[in-house]
Structure formats: structure tokens, C-alpha cells
């Protein structure tokens, strides 16, 4: 049986995400509760979380979450990592025994900074980390970088999302953004690396859908040096954001209009400057258009963006309550943790829901109450 990365596996899914726009950090308890309500949208073959603001003590370090199949590859990878990075701290990620979670890999965490000799004008720290991550994921058999951003981390594995959350003791972490994913793959992903969210630097994506444009997206991204080793849509979407925002300098909203662009006929009605811009974006980045059904939540250290495909073939609901923005596959999953939101709506296809932090600094919620 081929494992994920060697084969493409269509999936159905549940997604849920929360951001506090004031940067108030709160525990992972809520997001677990929200995604758990949508239990039937997953089938126990994949679940995961991304959390931002969880490592304030190492905020300037890249936090590597590593999955190893065995000690040999761990030793080998660590030797490689220490040749490229100054490692400030490394330890096993604390976990809890959960009956249904089996065959977990060795999960390890490193806080690192690239060694200065590898960094120059052509290759900044982010670029260098990205290259290393891609190299490990493509070439190091039995090692997988689950996340590599600053002050954030991905926790994912094979199981129902609420079980994965319990396994990784996420109620003990505090973050200002939490996103989550429950997966319904149509065959066995076979390993933990294939679960979602997929991350790159501080990008993370949870995604519900099957992108019919995957082959076109993949081959376009490959031209810009991305190696799509997992054969998942999520990976492609993450790289697309990375290319558009980090490398090409587009803002998030514009990047969303590349992934889910306006229809040509709607562009015809735009005022000339706008029309020219959208036409150029679509003509140039047409191969990055995400076609087919999807709803995604993009997490970054600065906030979240939720986006639907252009004709809304997957569910996505949004709600606000005070400084909190909630996005989820189902309204029930929001009301489960926020029974009386200020505002609930169903975003239109192709129209991003953007929840950016309003402050630079973050703080903890001392009395963060849930229903």
C-alpha cells in the first residue's frame, strides 16, 4: 500500500478556527471542542491543529516540530540540523496516552536559528529554513517536519482530531490563533505526516476539499522551486500563499483573489484600473487558481484568512463575538463554543474572511471563559 506522498488521496473534512484580534492567548480547549462536534465529518484517519503564540519564550526561534519513524533517522536528522542551525532547545513534545492513538512517531521539538554562514542576501533566514524543510521532507526517509514557523506549531496525526488534541495535551498551550482539521480520507494515509494542517514557516493551512486543479497548481509551483512531496492540496495551497505573499509581495487579499479570482464577466464590469489589475493577476497566475471545491483556513502569525472556492462547493461559516473571529465548516461548531455570537454569516464563494491582529504584542487571557 502506498503512503501519502506516493499517492494522491481525496478527502472530505471538517475545519474550524478561532482568532482573537487583540492577540489575547487562550487555551486549545475551545478549538478541540468545536472540531469534536463535527466528529462525523472525519473518519479517524487524520486530525490536527495549528496554534500561534504558543512559544513566547522562543519567539525569535524557528520552532521545528519533527516526526521520526525511528531513532536512527532521528539521530541522522539531528546531526544534519545541528550542522545547519544553532539549536537553542530540543525536547520531546509532551504527549498523553490515548487508547485509540496508535503507532505514533517519535515527536520532537527544536528551537533553532540558522547558522550565519548559510545566510546571505540571496538566501535570507526564511528562504534557508524553507529549503531545509523541503529537503528533509523530500529526501529524509522516515523524518518529517510537521511545522517550522516562529512562535507557532502544528500538532497532527492519524486519529480523530479531538483524540489528537488530547494526545498532544493542547489544553495546556495558550495561543491567540487556533485552527483545526478533521479528515475523511478515501483511503489510508498510512502515516502522521500526511495529516493536516500543512505548514511552511509560519503559514499553516487547514483545508476541506479536493482541488481539481492540483496537477496544474503543482506543476506551476514546481517551476518556482517548490517540491510537492506530499501530493496534497493543502501542501499546494500553502506553497501558493508562500509564493504570492512572501516571495512576490502581494497582500493576503490579493493573494486570495489569485486563488479564487473573479469571473471574467465580473471583471468586465470593474473600473479600468481594477480590471487591469485583476486581468493581469489572472493572466499571470491562472495556473494557481484553485479549482474544485474547497474551504480553507490560512493561519499566519498576523491573523487568519478563510476562503471558499468561487462557487462555494464546500461549507464555510463565520461569526464574531467581541474580538474573536470564528470560522468553521458548520455553524453548530461555532455555537458549541460561542452560543451567542454578535454576528454570524455565510461568506460568499471567493470572498475571503480576514481576521488580522490589531496589535503587535500579544497577552494571555487570564479569565478566558467558555460556555
Amino acid at each position: 500500500m502506498l503512503r501519502e506522498g506516493e499517492i494522491r488521496i481525496p478527502s472530505g473534512c471538517a475545519i474550524s478556527g478561532i482568532v482573537n484580534k487583540q492577540g489575547v492567548r487562550f487555551s486549545g480547549r475551545d478549538v478541540i471542542k468545536s472540531i469534536a462536534l463535527m466528529h462525523d465529518r472525519s473518519n479517524g484517519l487524520g486530525g490536527g491543529f495549528a496554534a500561534y503564540g504558543i512559544y513566547p519564550e522562543y519567539a525569535e526561534h524557528y520552532a521545528f516540530h519533527m516526526y521520526y519513524d525511528d531513532i536512527t533517522i532521528k539521530d541522522y536528522t539531528e546531526e544534519f540540523l545541528s550542522s545547519r542551525f544553532n539549536i537553542a532547545e530540543s525536547h520531546e513534545i509532551p504527549t498523553k496516552k490515548v487508547a485509540s492513538i496508535k503507532n505514533s512517531p517519535i515527536v520532537w521539538r527544536y528551537f533553532v536559528k540558522p547558522k550565519s554562514e548559510f545566510i546571505d542576501e540571496d538566501c535570507g533566514c526564511d528562504e534557508f529554513v524553507m529549503k531545509i524543510v523541503m529537503m528533509i521532507n523530500a529526501k529524509f526517509d522516515g523524518a518529517f517536519v510537521a511545522s517550522s514557523g516562529k512562535n507557532m506549531g502544528a500538532f497532527k496525526g492519524v486519529g480523530y482530531p479531538e483524540e489528537i488534541g488530547e494526545f498532544f495535551r493542547l489544553d495546556e498551550y495558550k495561543g491567540y490563533i487556533w485552527t483545526s482539521h478533521g479528515r475523511f480520507p478515501t483511503n489510508t494515509p498510512g502515516w502522521w505526516g500526511g495529516a493536516h494542517p500543512f505548514t511552511l514557516l509560519d503559514w499553516s493551512i487547514v483545508h476541506n476539499g479536493e482541488i481539481s486543479s492540483y496537477g496544474a497548481n503543482k506543476r506551476y509551483l514546481e517551476m518556482f522551486g517548490y517540491q510537492l512531496s506530499l501530493q496534497t492540496d493543502t501542501e499546494a495551497i500553502t506553497y501558493a500563499f508562500d509564493l504570492l505573499v512572501r516571495k512576490h509581495g502581494l497582500d493576503i487579499e490579493t493573494a486570495c483573489s489569485v486563488l479564487a479570482p473573479p469571473f471574467w464577466r465580473n471583471m468586465e464590469r470593474m473600473e479600468p484600473a481594477k480590471k487591469e489589475m485583476y486581468t493581469a493577476l489572472r493572466a499571470v497566475y491562472g495556473n494557481l487558481l484553485l479549482n474544485g471545491p474547497f474551504s480553507i483556513i490560512l493561519g499566519t502569525s498576523k491573523g487568519i484568512v478563510a476562503l471558499n472556492d468561487r462557487i462555494k462547493l464546500r461549507p464555510l461559516v463565520a461569526a464574531t463575538k467581541g474580538d474573536n473571529l470564528y470560522v468553521s465548516s458548520e455553524e453548530s461548531a461555532i455555537r458549541e463554543i460561542c452560543p451567542s455570537p454578535d454576528n454570524v454569516w455565510t461568506p460568499k464563494g471567493g470572498e475571503p474572511v480576514i481576521g488580522m491582529l490589531e496589535k503587535e504584542e500579544t497577552r494571555d487571557a487570564y479569565q478566558y471563559a467558555t460556555a
Partner: protein, 500 residues
């Protein structure tokens, strides 16, 4: 005179019970097959002249006519078969190069038919084009690596682009090779459909300048009809290096076809042979091509994309890469099945490679080199229907040229005797009595119908795959699976076998 060894290729079956001796067949056959014989009070046929163009069959008001292949058998021989023997007979009697028209009719493997498209089932929904928007608009031209935007405005304009409402263009068919009626049909249909037509190397007749917005003007080795006004009259310029039907050789329009109108349009004297040299004599290498590309861009002030069309030959991937690096905005690849008004038979049937393999190789190569976005890729040479187009786009093409299919739409019956100048359908001829048989209004309407029909079919196929924008199919080889190909062919096509 020694007796001819050539047997008539066809027999004319005339049903005496249906023939009303109206003589429509007599007045319509430019090959003088049908004659009225008043001695016997009936129409008789000189069958050796028949080319099976169906003009008489379709015009006969009582369906009294059928054309059959001559049933006379040659001694059975798999190797020395009848077409081989007939070719030798023709040369033994004529002493010339065997000429033919249209694309090759040899049983070259048809990769299109070995490729199968995907459709959505359960895990994602197919999309109904009758209910949902389905977009097949296409931009041809060089695309930068990235778009720079500041304060919601585009900072740097895109290089010039061709906008197509469907990924279909009419391939190069020159005035001279085809009639002005055919040119007008193509020009009008392209304009009505929002696609492009191509002058070939025939220049731009005054009557079709009005269709310049939807025209690609070609610059070929003979430079016929090329001047500044011509270059600026179209929306794009195409440098023709080669064509699929006859890679490596030039063109020859005999003087008898160069009448007043062709003469004016091609800017050559009436009655003179129009000879396109095999190479451009100012392009003996890739750096020369760059000079011509930029000369044309200068001449049109960088407002028009420049295309370079080459035959699909063995080294096509490297050649295409060089063309892109030389500054072309569009690369057109013409496969071995490409059509022609006249080509040496042996060249047509044995030089060049199939478009499918060439396309896959070129697209892969340009992506490997990271320059695929710098030029659009147009594929030509035997595109028969909308699913060929969809498969071509999945393999990596931006758009397709159709030539033969367009000719058939205008009435061509593929009799392959274009080079005789006696096209009974008024398409491939300059004889005024034949030219007027093609009514450009009807020709344009039929072509428009075809483009619309194919557009609908492309949308249906896209919707089935769960795709609602053509750019999501471009180069999306996961949408293809192959059947019955060799490992090498799978590798070159970059697709998986069905079942995997």
C-alpha cells in the same frame, strides 16, 4: 503513346433509375469527370479523373451518384501494397516528385485516442456548465514571473497579450493556397467568435484588413506581403520557421495561381512563382531568430506578441527552449499530421513527430527550465475535435490551431488534391469560377457553429472534471490517463496508465 499503368482510383456509380440528366454533375466537376453524351442521351464518366471530392455526390438532386474505390485488386502483398505500386507508376510516367495535399493519411499512432480524461465522482462535484459559469477565456503571450501591485494598482503592465474567447485558433492558411472566399470565411468567423485567424504567408488582402484585430500576420521565409502596414494590421505576428506537413522545406505557389489579387496581396508580379525558401535566409541560427523577433517587435513598438512556429522535429524541446529564450511570446508547434496545400508525399508522410509527444516534451522542458510562463504554447497538427483540444491543454498547451478541421467545416472533403488548384469546393483554388462556390457568409457561419459547438463541449468536459476555468486544466496531466502505451511513451507524455 505508351499505355498508362495507372488504374482509376475511383469508380463513379450512377444509378440510371435516379439520374434525371439534369447535368448538375457535369457543370460542377472541375476535373471534367462527367460529360453529357448526346449520342446516348446520358451522362457518362471519365473515372480516371475522379478525385472523390464528393461535389457531384452532394449536388446531385436525386442522389443518383456514388463514388467507390476501384475494386480492382493488386496481387496481395503486405509490403508492396497498392499505394506503393501506384506511387511508382506515377513517377515512372511523370518523372517527378510525388505531390499531395492535406495532412498525412498514414496510420501513425494517434495518441489522443490513447489518452482518457478524468471526471469527478463523489469526492468532489462535477460542475454543470448550463447552471454555473464555465470559463474558457485564454490569454496568449509572455507572462512575467510575478505581478507587482501597489495601492491596488498594477505597477507594471503585462507584455502584449492575445485574448481568446476559446482556446481555438484558425491555423495559417495563406491567400494563394486558399481562395479569398475561404480567407474571408475564416476572418469573419474568428472575429465573430473572439478567436484568431492566421494569414499564413499569403499577406493580408485589402478586403480583410477590417478583420485585423483577430488576425495573426505571418512572416515566412518568402516575406510575401510583409510591410510595416501589414505587421501593424494584425494583433500578433508569427514567424513561420516550419510547418508540420513539410518540415525542412519551403513552399511553392505556382505562377498560374498568382493572379491580380494574389499578386497585389503578396506584393509579387502577376504570374510569377511565389517561392518560399526552405530556411529564412536571414536565420541560420538561434541568435538570428532573436534579431528577427526583436526587429518585428521594434517595427510594432512592442505592442504585439511575436509567435514562432516550428515543425515538431526530433529536438523540438531544445528548439522551443531556444525560441523562448530568443524572446518569442508564443511558440507554436506543428505536428507531423499538419496539413498543407501541397507537399512532397515522402516528406509529408515521414518527416517530423506527432504533435502529442512534441507538446508534452516541450511543456515539460520549458517547466524544467522555469521559463514556461515566458511564452504561451500553441499546438497544431491534426486537432480533430474538442476532446483533442482538452487533452492538448491538459498536456500543457495554451491553445490549439485548427487547419484541416476548419477546411472540412468550409466544405473540404479531404480528397488531398489541393495542389491541382481545381478544388471543387472553392477553397483551395484561385479559379474565379470555383472560388465563388464558397459563399463566405456560409463559410463563416459554419466555422462559427463549429467553434461554438466545440466551446460547449470543452465546457462540458471541464465541468465533468470539476473544473470551471480552463487555466486549471492547463498542464494538469493528472486529468489524463493512458491506455496501451509503452513506458517510454508514458514518461514522455508525463501521464500515468489507466488504473494507477
Amino acid at each position: 503513346m505508351p499505355i498508362s499503368m495507372q488504374l482509376p482510383d475511383y469508380l463513379v456509380d450512377r444509378d440510371p433509375n435516379r439520374c434525371i440528366t439534369c447535368k448538375v454533375c457535369v457543370n460542377q466537376c472541375a476535373n471534367d469527370v462527367h460529360h453529357w453524351d448526346k449520342d446516348v442521351d446520358s451522362v457518362i464518366a471519365e473515372e480516371e479523373k475522379c478525385v472523390n471530392c464528393h461535389r457531384c455526390v452532394i449536388y446531385c438532386p436525386t442522389h443518383a451518384l456514388k463514388i467507390r474505390r476501384n475494386p480492382t485488386e493488386y496481387k496481395e502483398n503486405h509490403y508492396w501494397n497498392s499505394s506503393t505500386i501506384r506511387g511508382i507508376d506515377r513517377q515512372a510516367e511523370g518523372g517527378g516528385v510525388l505531390l499531395t495535399g492535406m495532412g498525412t493519411d498514414k496510420p501513425i499512432p494517434i495518441y489522443w485516442d490513447r489518452l482518457f480524461l478524468n471526471a469527478s465522482q463523489v469526492t468532489n462535484p462535477s460542475i454543470d456548465p448550463l447552471r454555473e459559469p464555465m470559463e474558457i477565456r485564454t490569454y496568449l503571450g509572455s507572462k512575467p514571473d510575478n505581478v507587482i501591485i501597489k495601492d491596488g494598482k498594477l505597477i507594471k503592465e503585462l507584455p502584449p497579450q492575445l485574448v481568446l474567447d476559446a482556446p481555438i485558433m484558425f491555423g495559417a492558411l495563406s491567400f494563394g493556397a486558399i481562395s479569398l472566399s475561404a480567407v474571408k470565411s475564416l476572418a469573419k468567423a474568428a472575429t465573430d467568435c473572439g478567436v484568431m485567424w492566421n494569414t499564413g504567408e499569403g499577406g493580408l488582402h485589402r478586403d480583410v484588413y477590417e478583420y485585423g484585430k483577430n488576425c495573426i500576420v505571418q512572416v515566412a521565409s518568402g516575406r510575401f506581403g510583409v510591410d510595416a502596414e501589414y505587421l501593424n494590421a494584425g494583433s500578433a505576428i508569427e514567424i513561420k520557421i516550419g510547418q508540420g506537413a513539410k518540415p525542412g522545406i519551403g513552399g511553392h505557389l505556382p505562377g498560374e495561381k498568382v493572379g491580380e489579387e494574389v499578386s497585389k496581396t503578396r506584393m509579387i508580379p502577376v504570374g510569377s512563382d511565389a517561392i518560399s525558401p526552405a530556411p529564412h535566409h536571414d536565420i541560420y541560427s538561434i541568435e538570428d531568430l532573436r534579431q528577427l523577433i526583436y526587429a518585428l517587435k521594434e517595427a510594432t513598438r512592442y505592442t504585439k506578441p511575436v509567435s514562432v512556429k516550428v515543425s515538431a522535429v526530433h529536438n523540438v524541446a531544445a528548439i522551443a527552449s531556444g525560441i523562448v529564450r530568443a524572446g518569442a511570446d508564443i511558440v507554436a508547434i506543428d505536428g507531423v499530421r499538419g496539413g498543407t496545400g501541397a507537399a512532397p508525399l515522402r516528406t509529408r508522410d515521414s518527416v517530423g513527430i506527432p504533435a502529442e509527444l512534441a507538446l508534452a516534451a516541450v511543456d515539460s522542458r520549458l517547466r524544467q527550465e522555469g521559463i514556461r510562463n515566458q511564452a504561451s504554447l500553441v499546438i497544431a497538427g491534426g486537432i480533430r475535435n474538442s476532446s483533442d483540444i482538452v487533452k492538448a491543454i491538459a498536456l500543457g498547451a495554451d491553445a490549439c490551431y485548427i487547419g484541416t478541421a476548419a477546411l472540412i467545416t468550409m466544405g473540404c472533403r479531404m480528397c488531398q488534391t489541393c495542389y491541382t488548384g481545381k478544388c471543387n469546393w472553392g477553397i483551395c483554388t484561385q479559379d474565379p469560377k470555383l472560388v465563388k462556390r464558397l459563399n463566405p457568409e456560409i463559410g463563416a457561419q459554419r466555422l462559427t457553429n463549429l467553434i461554438h459547438a466545440w466551446s460547449h463541449e470543452i465546457k462540458e468536459l471541464l465541468g465533468g472534471m470539476g473544473i470551471n476555468a480552463l487555466e486549471s486544466l492547463r498542464g494538469n496531466r493528472l486529468m489524463l490517463r493512458g491506455v496501451g502505451l509503452s513506458e517510454t511513451e508514458y514518461r514522455i507524455l508525463g501521464i500515468l496508465p489507466a488504473g494507477e
